[in-house]
């Protein structure tokens, strides 16, 4: 049973980690919390669902959903963050601005989709159980896990080995110095939002597929946990978001496996509190994005 429970925790943690990556990327570059990340998560999922319902193959629809998430992220930056950035509005005002953007987007979705929960057609999902030794899972879960890992590795590669990654890290280190070196700040920030929101969108699509459920609140549900993950991992740390995501998923699952299902959130957040008491900057410390 314990192996199955660990597998359950890893599957759960993969989505937490993917969601938290986008969160931490924006924080690492701009020092602001983007609380519209959950809305992007939901929009990408709903768009994918819409395209699949219209007959588009799921992989193609998911790709469109991820790209649309990225584009929405850029729009979010232009509307909610860029004007405030120009006025040096600090960190609290953009936080409120992102909440406003999320409320508007959710309101538009409510108008378009209504409040009812949506589902993919069961026949569209590969859900026949697979028995891999002591672990029972579905091809869909394995695909979701593999996709999450590939996207995390791809982000690490982009940050370490590409000119874009170097520009993002330079901006995260010191915006003024980066600008003096000729880096186009606004383009780099827009690219950061694109990457972060595409990852958030991917997390939304994978979550919707994993539980075959789309609701308007799906982003809000994971938002608090994503925030906890990046605090646990270290604000702005990419490895921290990954480790923190898996840690939260596994701790939640183990709490239930140990017979404490009513207490699982309290236990998960209690463990997190203890980690932060011992290491207030999180597992990987602040500002780890620069070293990504």
């Amino acid at each position: 049973m314990i192996v199955q429970q660990l597998a359950n925790g890893v599957f759960l943690g993969a989505v937490y980690a993917l969601f938290a990556l986008g969160y931490t990327l924006v924080f690492g570059v701009l020092d602001i919390l983007n609380l519209a990340h959950g809305a992007v998560f939901a929009v990408a999922a709903y768009l994918t669902w819409t395209l699949v319902a219209a007959g588009m193959p799921l992989p193609l629809a998911a790709l469109v959903g991820i790209l649309a998430g990225g584009v929405l992220g850029v729009i979010l930056d232009r509307i909610a963050f860029a004007p405030l950035r120009k006025r040096n509005a600090g960190t609290l005002v953009p936080l409120i601005s992102s909440i406003g953007f999320a409320i508007v987007v959710t309101g538009l979705m409510r108008g378009g989709y209504g409040i009812d929960e949506r589902h993919f057609a069961e026949s569209a999902l590969p859900n026949a159980p697979l028995h891999l030794g002591p672990v029972t899972c579905t091809p869909l879960e394995l695909t979701i896990f593999a996709t999450a890992i590939v996207l995390m590795l791809a982000l690490s590669w982009v940050m370490r080995a590409t000119p874009l990654g170097r520009r993002i890290r330079a901006v995260a280190e010191d915006r003024t110095a980066a600008a003096l070196l000729g880096i186009d700040l606004e383009r780099t920030i827009a690219a950061t939002f694109f990457l972060a929101s595409a990852l958030g969108g991917a997390a939304g699509i994978l979550t919707a597929l994993q539980y075959n459920s789309l609701t308007l609140e799906m982003g809000g549900r994971v938002e608090l946990k994503g925030l906890a993950v990046i605090i646990l991992g270290g604000m702005g740390s990419i490895p921290g978001a990954v480790i923190g995501g898996f840690a939260l998923g596994i701790v939640e699952t183990i709490a239930i496996a140990a017979g404490f299902s009513p207490w699982r959130d309290a236990i998960a957040f209690g463990v997190m509190f203890l980690v932060l008491v011992i290491r207030p900057t999180g597992i990987f410390g602040k500002r780890a994005l620069r070293a990504a």
């Binding site: 049973m1 359950n8 409040i115 069961e122 029972t136 899972c137 496996a257 009513p262």
Partner: protein, 378 residues
């Protein structure tokens, strides 16, 4: 001749089932009087999935009273539907409004937890209440004029356990229920008590929170205890995921649940693994009561989706209101007295009236999930 007669009877019976009650509107003591019915429902927010069908049902009932399909004795009945947005404070505000604006009877609210806040406000103002979806224990004890036409889980679950035990002969059961919702917690508690009374060993009890989507850790623990049957104390969104994830984990056991699983979309959402799940409920979409088939057809035509139990219970409440106005009740006191002495009312839930404790007197239906909806569990 005999063949012809039987055919004629069958034809007449079929027509009677399909057609709504077509009695022309009578002119009763309340003819021409205006009667305002206040409805508090969660049309938006988390419980919007339940409140929206309720709102729809009142719209349909309003049309039907105007057209004479429902005989309200000539009274001008209006349903003032207020959206509480799944917010307890908003529920209280709306009920306060009903106590001051000439409302004769309050229908709702949508959730039992809301009723515990709202009903005392109505009771203090002598405004009678008829709950249509408040199934938790103790709701009708909130006041001497708090009624409900929703069968409580305590009324449904004993029949569910008795019928499944007689057919499945299980010895060990596992229960999973939501511990932060009055309805699902009642499901868990009542099922546990009923199973123990029936000498079935409860080998695992797991809980979850409302809006959870991942139940695999709890189901893995349950699988380890090797139960014969799994009891799902859940509302529809969580119930479908629990059933789908149990099947995916290879938990191949019989499953059953309460009113919360009574949606004709169960098979489509939870997948083929949900076939055979038994649901104890207050209403069936295929119920053969007078006017039910017509209600289902007209609701589906008007709103593009079939009604669920929440819609049926709301529509039945409107039928009770019509029966009351037909007998001359137009004021809060007359509504209260009328419910106390209500003779059997023909509704889409079947013939109903009220017990002395103000719970509805009606028979539960035990259904089994099949592709496309439900069939009766036999």
């Amino acid at each position: 001749m005999r063949h012809l007669t039987l055919t004629s009877i069958a034809l007449c019976a079929s027509v009677a089932l399909i057609l709504p009650a077509t009695a022309a509107t009578t002119k009763g003591p309340a003819a021409g009087k205006s009667v305002k019915i206040g409805v508090v429902a969660d049309v938006t927010g988390g419980a919007g999935v339940y409140g929206t069908p309720q709102k729809n049902a009142y719209e349909l009932a309003s049309d039907d009273i105007k057209s004479g399909l429902i005989d309200a004795g000539g009274a001008n009945v209006t349903f003032s539907v207020m959206d509480a947005a799944s917010d307890g404070a908003q529920v209280a505000n709306i009920v306060q409004g009903f106590t001051k604006d000439g409302t004769a009877l309050m229908l709702g609210p949508t959730l039992s937890g809301e009723a515990k806040k709202a009903d005392p406000i109505a009771v203090a103002a002598n405004l009678p209440v008829l709950g249509t979806s408040t199934t938790a224990p103790g709701i009708t004890t909130l006041g001497s004029c708090v009624y409900r036409n929703a069968l409580s889980e305590e009324q449904v679950i004993p029949t569910t356990v008795k019928r499944t035990l007689a057919k499945w002969h299980y010895k060990k059961a596992a229960i999973i229920f939501g511990d932060d919702n009055a309805f699902t917690k009642t499901d868990g508690d009542v099922f546990a008590a009923e199973l123990q009374a029936s000498k079935v060993e409860v080998v695992a009890t797991e809980t979850y929170h409302q809006k959870d989507v991942d139940f695999q850790a709890q189901l893995t623990r349950i699988k380890d205890k090797k139960p014969d049957v799994l009891v799902v104390g859940a509302l529809f969104p969580e119930g479908t995921k629990i059933i789908a994830q149990a099947v995916k984990l290879g938990l191949n056991v019989k499953m059953m649940g309460g009113n919360g699983l009574n949606s004709s979309q169960m098979y489509d959402v939870a997948g083929p693994g949900s076939a055979g799940v038994v649901v104890g409920a207050a209403w069936s979409i295929a119920g053969k009561y007078t006017g039910n088939a017509s209600f289902v057809a007209r609701y589906t035509k008007k709103f593009g989706t079939p009604p669920d139990q929440f819609a049926a219970q709301a529509y039945a409440a409107a039928q009770v209101v019509a029966a009351l106005t037909k007998s001359g009740a137009t004021t809060p006191k007359e509504m209260c007295d009328g419910m106390k002495s209500l003779p059997v009312a023909q509704t889409v839930l079947g013939p109903i009236n009220f017990e002395p404790n103000r719970d509805v007197k009606s028979a539960p239906v035990i259904l089994e999930v099949v592709k496309g909806g439900f069939t009766y569990f036999k």
